[in-house]
Each structure stands twice: as C-alpha cells, then as structure tokens.
C-alpha cells in the first residue's frame, strides 16, 4: 500500500514538473564580462517571404560586419496574428528585441513599449523619408523601411479605348467623372475598383482624394491633430464617398469585395479604370504588372474637387523596425535597425519586391512610368490623412463607410460619430 502511494506521489510530481518545465525559457545570457554568444531576436511578417530574402540577407551581412559575435534570429509571424502575438509579448514584457511595425496607429498605440531611437538614428534622418509615421510626441520609435502611400492608378488601355488621352489624366473632379462615364460607355468598366469588405476602402479613399478636397491649411491642420469634422471640406470627402457609391461608379458589391486582394484583381483585369492603391509592397505597380504591362499603368494626382486645393501624394513611412523597451542590449538592437535600413539592404528590397523604399538615394529609373511618377511626387508629398487617426477611429470609420454605401446612415450622423471617436483619441 505504502509503495502505491509513493509511486502515485512520484507520478504526480513528475507530471507537474514536466508540465511546468516545458514552459520555462532558458534565459539568454546577458553581455557581461565573459562575453558569451549574444543573440538578438527579431519579429516581423516579412522575413519569410521569398521577395524579402535578399533584403534580410543584406541587412544581416551589414550587421555581422560590425558585430561578428552577435547572432540575429528572424522569426516571421503570420501577419493576421502579428499584433495579437505582439500584444501578448508587450503584456508580459518579454519577447523580441527588434520588431517590425506598420506606421501610424499601430505603432503609436504601442509606443510605451518601445525605445525612443532619436539618438541612434540621427545620421540616417536625412537619407530616409517617412519618419513621421513612426514618431509620437516628437520622439522616433522606428526607422522606416518602405514608404506607404495611396497613389491613384489608372488603366491607360481603358482610357485609349474610351478615346481619352492616357498621357493627360483628368485634373478636376468633373473631368474625372465625365471621363469615367466615357470609359463605362466604351468598355463597361467601372470607374473605381473598391474593396470595402474589411472597411479599408474608405481609408484609401480619404487619403487618396483628400488633397483634392481640403485646402493645404486644412490638410496640415488635420495632420497636426486639429481636425474639424464639421468643416465643409471634410464633409465633402464623405459626401463624395457616398455619391460615388450611389452613382454606381464603384464595382458591384464593394462591401463584400475584399481589399486584399480581390479588388486588385478587379483593376488588373480591366473591370475598373481606377484604383486607389498602395506604393509598397502589395497592391502596387509591381503587383499589377502580372496582367497590366507597366506602360499601361498610369499614376495621377488627386482630381481637384474644391478650388484652392493643391493635390499632393499622400504617403508615410510604411513599415519600420522598432526596438523593444525591455531589450537587454539597446545599442546592439538599434544598430541592427540601422542595418535593416542601410542603403544596400533597401536597394535589394526595392529590386526584389518592387517596394518603394524609404531611402531616397536608391536608383529607381529602370522601373517604368508609374514608379517615376510616384517618386517624383515624394518631395512634395504629405502624410496621408487616415494615418493620423487612431486605430479605434479607423475601425469605426470602416463600419460607417459600409453603412454610407448601403444607405443605412447619413453623412452627418457618420461625421458626428467619427468626431466623438476622434476626440477620445
């Protein structure tokens, strides 16, 4: 009897130990006197992609030159779970030393878990563009890798078939709408390819067309956080959104068409003449070329809706690497971020993935007219309107935009809710 008790007790202990043991993590050695192998852990959703392989290799090589004794491990997380996983890491204060972020709300919401990088990246400030999207309250939290923006792409082949001049895209909203009518008549194609299933369509619309509606002052105020949701300009943008839907300028079933990536197929296959797309590194010129040859893809500035508006390319830092506050080696981690944004690495990223990278010194002259048109506008471009909003407000805006399209709410009511959500921040 005693023996049985003893055995079961032993079993219990063994099971408990086995259960707990697998969960504990062996701490990585800290860089003290003996200098054992140091290790940096990087989380992102890019390093697993074939198109980014050379980029990561280059960055690693650049880093290894300066720190041969440090190993760098990249862990590619699935993007749809990325911020969930990151949230858990932040909650426990343990996880990667360096991590990839989308610019705007995603990084600002989590800035208190990140290390300000201002002192480390001072030398890169003029070489790279797009810092604003990774800054909060005057501090930089990540170094931009790509630039993300919302150029309006148009299908030159459809323009030709409709008798429009593909080299001279419409400059005003009324020209734009009448051009669309001509395209529809000649080819049956819709004016806009719109995918609003996830509620992302309105973000692209707001940013893509906003500079044609707001005056430069209104635009700058919006970015600076002084947003007047009741101003005629802002109201006009949302009325335009509703009008475009009501007049049938979008492809059918916009609310059930996914932005990633059904709607890009709609544009590529010539079912719509325009799309407010992206610059990097999907939903952009390099993606479209599977069906549309680069010389048939045009990029136009936002058509002018109200007098006094000055169209500009809306863009921000797209993705960038940040350093966690809890890292044991902040300087090493910051140095890795610098390697990840070195000219060599970014040139490779541009070359393989077609991404418009943050480095303004990368040569893009070989890539065709659409890229030339985009890069020419970077100098005069401004931050995108929607990037200035919190993720909560963007979430609300997504649902309201669907309601505006289906007619179950009005522009006034929608703006009221957006203003309330924006005030809360």
């Amino acid at each position: 009897m005693q023996q049985r008790t003893l055995w079961s007790a032993l079993m219990a202990v063994a099971l408990t130990v086995a259960g707990c043991g697998s969960a504990t993590r062996t701490e990585s050695p800290s860089g003290q006197a003996s200098q054992p192998q140091q290790k940096l852990l990087v989380w992102d959703w890019k390093s697993g992609e074939a198109a980014a392989a050379t980029y990561i290799e280059q960055a690693k090589a650049d880093f290894a030159k300066r720190h041969p004794d440090v190993t760098v491990e990249f862990v590619a997380q699935p993007f749809d779970q990325y911020y969930t996983l990151l949230g858990t890491a932040i909650q426990t204060g343990k996880g990667p030393d360096v991590m990839l972020f989308n610019g705007g709300g995603q990084i600002r919401d989590r800035a208190d878990a990140l290390l300000p990088l201002d002192s480390y990246v001072a030398q890169d400030k003029s070489r790279l563009a797009g810092w604003d999207a990774f800054s909060k309250d005057g501090k930089i939290y990540a170094a931009p890798v790509t630039l993300q923006g919302h150029p309006i792409y148009y299908n030159k082949a459809l323009y030709e078939r409709a008798g429009l001049d593909p080299a001279a895209p419409p400059k005003t909203w009324s020209e734009f709408v009448s051009g669309c009518a001509a395209v529809k008549k000649a080819t049956g194609a819709a004016c806009f390819a719109l995918g609003n299933k996830e509620g992302f369509g309105i973000q692209f619309f707001l940013s893509g067309l906003g500079s044609g509606v707001l005056t430069p002052e209104e635009y700058d105020d919006w970015i600076a956080g002084k947003r007047d949701w009741n101003s005629p300009g802002v109201k006009r943008i949302f009325e335009l959104w509703k009008d475009v839907g009501d007049k049938g300028l979008n492809n059918d079933g916009a609310n059930s068409t996914a932005m990633f990536s059904d709607v890009f197929r709609v544009f590529e296959t010539g079912k719509a003449a325009h799309i407010i797309g992206l610059m990097s590194d999907i939903g952009h010129w390099n993606d479209f070329k599977e069906f549309l040859p680069p010389d048939k893809i045009g990029v136009m500035p936002a058509p002018v809706v109200t007098d006094g508006a000055v169209p500009s390319l809306p863009y921000d830092g797209g993705i960038g690497y940040a350093v966690a506050k809890w890292t044991k080696a902040p300087e090493l981690a910051a140095d890795l971020v610098r390697s990840l944004t070195s000219t060599g690495a970014l040139t490779a990223f541009y070359g393989k993935a077609g991404a418009i990278v943050s480095d303004t010194t990368v040569d893009v002259s070989q890539a065709g007219p659409a890229v030339a048109a985009i890069t020419a506008q970077i100098e005069t471009g401004k931050p995108a309107l929607h990037v200035a909003l919190s993720s909560k407000t963007l979430d609300v805006m997504g649902r309201l935009s669907q309601q505006l399209l289906s007619g179950s709410t009005t522009v006034d009511k929608a703006l009221e809710q957006l203003a309330a959500s924006d005030r809360k921040g």
Binding site: T5, A12, Y83, D112, K197, D252, S256, A258
Partner: protein
C-alpha cells in the same frame, strides 16, 4: 476476511485517491482555473496609459455601451434561435437515408464529405461561390432574379454564414442520427406502415419519439459547435462585417485584443462570454439529466 493493518498503512490507503487525482487537479487548477482568475482580475484594469491600474467596472460599462458588442451578443441569440433549423436538416436527411430513398448510399458519404474540410477552406470556397459576380448570382440572373449581395448585405450576411456553417458541419450530426436510427425498433415502423400511416405521421409519431435522446444530444453538440467554432468562417468570409453585422463575441475579443490593442477590454468581453457559456452549459446539463431520467 481482511487482516487488520497497521494504522500508517490505513492512512496511506486513505490518501491514495487524493494523490492519484492530484495531477489532474493540479493541471486543471494551474492551466485552467488560475489563468481564468487572472483574466477576470485583468478585466478590472485599464488599457494603454491606464495599463495595470484598476478601473473597477469601467471595461464592463464600456462593453455595455458598445453597439458592436451588443450586436455580437444579439447574434449569439440569433444562433440559438436558428438551432432548431440546424438540427432539423441533418435529422430529416438522416430519416430519408434510413427510409432508403433511391441513392441513399451515395448521399450517406456525400453528406459527410464537408465535415472533413477546415473552416478556412469552406470559407474560401463560399467566398468565391457567393461573390457578387460569383456563380450563384449568375445562376440567379439566368432565372431572372436580381443579384443578392450574400456577404455584403448586413441583413443577409449572418444567415449566409450560419447557412455555410450548417452545410459544413451537419455531416457529423447526420452520423449521430444514423447511429440513433440503428437502435430504432423497425417493427414499430412496419406496424405504422401496416396501419396506413403517412410519411409525415410516421416521422412525427414513431421516429421522433424514439429518437428523443439522440435529438437532444445533437442539439447540445450543434449548439456548442455554433457558439465556439464560427470564428474561422467569420474571419474568412466577412471579417465581422458588413457594418459589424456578423460579429460574434469571439471575433469581438480577437479584434479588441489583436487589432485595437485593448487586452483588458478583451478580457472583460471574454468574462462575459464565459458567463454566457456557463449559463448555456448548465442549461444543457439540466436538459441531458432530465432526458436521462426518462429511461
């Protein structure tokens, strides 16, 4: 006859059962109850700048005021209302197979087939089928009916997703029903037939009463399936949209935690979902007990 043992051995014997269940209890306490308690505790703290500071019932009040969360709870209610349909479909089809309609062997395997597909694949297939310019709408167009925005109309989307979920999972319930039929006394059916009962009468007066326990079991399992495994379909088919019309608490929790960086609010929503599931679970246990007592 038992020989009297020394007292220490008696003690050991008395302790043995506790020691034996200890691993299971420890695992449940350490990996289930303790995290649950932590989660509930966490739900009374704030997010963002308020991280870690107690906010009392703040998160719960925010949930109560959030129309999106109310929609997600209302959708749980809708699922409960649709439950009879989800049970009746496999029940009826199993009846037809049992009554040997022509081709019943083929149907038996065909009906089970979708049950082996993962929700993501099912969702992707139906995304194509139900797209606005998809084959189903083309078919409707051919017979002269207007296109329906199956996944883009807030009044329809939830029913579409539930319909797809039922399509994807009814095979399992069908098998349970067929197992139930195998215990059915066929002489009863023969007697009913001899007495001139119609199909409807034999279903209503013979089959359903004999299968009460099977039906109750299917009710319970279908309910659990609907409340816990719709996430994959929602994620792939609607992303909670359009207009937030297809939110379920699970999706809401994931969205707040992963997309909006509100882990404490998500904890509060999880606690509410836990209470809902607890009530539903207890009701089901009562139901099953009552069914057991009848025999």
């Amino acid at each position: 006859m038992r020989i009297a043992e020394p007292s220490s051995s008696a003690l050991a014997e008395r302790l043995a059962p506790y020691v034996l269940v200890a691993p299971a209890v420890l695992i449940i306490v350490a990996l289930r109850l303790w995290p649950l308690a932590l989660g509930v505790n966490f739900s009374f703290t704030g997010d963002g700048d308020l991280n870690g500071t107690p906010v009392g019932l703040g998160n719960y009040l925010e949930l109560a005021a959030d129309p999106l969360f109310r929609v997600s709870l209302r959708n749980v209610g809708l699922l409960v209302l649709l439950l009879p349909v989800a049970v009746a479909i496999p029940g009826l089809l199993a009846t037809f197979i049992y009554l040997r309609v022509p081709g019943h062997r083929v149907y038996r395997s065909v009906y089970f087939f979708p049950a082996v597909l993962s929700p993501v694949i099912v969702g992707a297939i139906f995304n194509l089928m139900l797209g606005y310019d998809g084959p189903l709408n083309s078919l409707l167009g051919m017979v002269g009916a207007g296109p329906v925005d199956w996944l883009g109309d807030p009044g329809i989307a939830m029913f579409t997703v539930v319909g797809v979920h039922v399509w994807a999972t009814f095979g399992m319930a069908l098998v349970v029903f067929l197992a139930g039929f195998s215990t059915l006394d066929s002489s009863l059916l023969d007697a009913a037939r001899v007495d001139g009962a119609s199909l409807r009468q034999s279903i209503w007066h013979v089959i359903i009463p004999s299968l009460t326990r099977t039906i109750q079991f299917v009710f319970v399992t279908t309910m659990i399936g609907m409340l816990t495994s719709m996430f994959g379909l929602l994620f792939v088919m609607t992303s909670g949209g359009p207009e937030g019309a297809t939110y379920l608490p699970e999706y809401y929790i994931w969205h707040q935690q992963g997309q909006l960086n509100r882990p404490a609010l998500a904890s509060a929503a999880s606690t509410v979902l836990f209470v809902v599931m607890l009530v539903v679970g207890l009701l089901q246990i009562t139901l099953l007990r009552r069914a057991g007592r009848q025999d």
